[in-house]
């Protein structure tokens, strides 16, 4: 369907099966989910947090964002936020952005579906993702 080969990130640690990284939140409590999300954002040039997977998006906004990335032939990592509500909570706490999807490039929040669509239509998105 596309030459884009998303590399889904499927190893966000969930409570109970994950070793807690050393970093702690301001409250002093270890927060492995938040740490894993922050690390994923840092480690992937382009990463999309979405509902569902690129192959099977579970929301129209996520589907549209994936379609745009595929139209640009942009390789991207993808994280499905649906399996655990804490992924979305921690992601929004990090990004100060309440909705899904959320697209990050080079560690920065590009935006949600509306901004991604606007930037795609204006031609800015390809540059932002390079």
């Amino acid at each position: 369907m596309s030459s884009t080969e998303p590399s889904p990130v499927r190893d966000l640690p969930m409570a109970g099966n994950a070793p807690a990284p050393a970093a702690e939140t301001s409250s002093g409590e270890p927060n492995p989910i938040r740490d894993a999300i922050a690390e994923a954002i840092e480690q992937h040039a382009v990463i999309l947090f979405m509902k569902g997977t690129p192959e099977a998006p579970a929301c129209g906004f996520s589907a549209r964002t994936v379609a745009i990335l595929e139209a640009l032939d942009t390789p991207f990592a993808a994280v499905d936020i649906l399996p655990d509500p804490r992924i979305r909570e921690e992601l929004s706490a990090i990004s100060n952005w309440p909705t899904i999807p959320q697209l990050f490039a080079n560690g920065e929040l590009i935006g949600g579906c509306d901004i991604v669509s606007e930037m795609y239509e204006s031609g800015e998105l390809a540059e932002a993702l390079s």
């Binding site: 100060n96 952005w97 909705t99 590009i110 949600g112 606007e118």
Partner: protein, 81 residues
């Protein structure tokens, strides 16, 4: 269930000088699309502009308001390109 008029008024009350056009995209009272023009957007990135609008609704975004699609612009310009 908020109406488009509720959403419009809350945005216009919260953001000084703002003008909002809001439609209910599904008729279900939980998916909205808003075009917001506000002086406060001047000099801010799109992400910052959208945050200003999202902040009006706090935890209602993703809760009672399942989706709020946004297009933001400053009064003196066409949508930021």
């Amino acid at each position: 269930m908020p109406s488009p008029e509720d959403i419009k008024q809350r945005i216009e009350v919260a953001l000084a000088g703002a003008h909002a056009e809001v439609e209910d995209t599904t008729g279900g009272g939980d998916h909205f699309r808003a075009t917001v023009t506000a002086p406060a957007f001047e000099g801010r990135s799109r992400v910052e502009q959208h945050r200003l609008v999202y902040e009006v609704f706090g935890a209602e975004i993703g809760g009672a308001i399942h989706a709020l699609s946004l297009k933001t612009q400053t009064p003196l310009k066409t949508p930021i390109q």
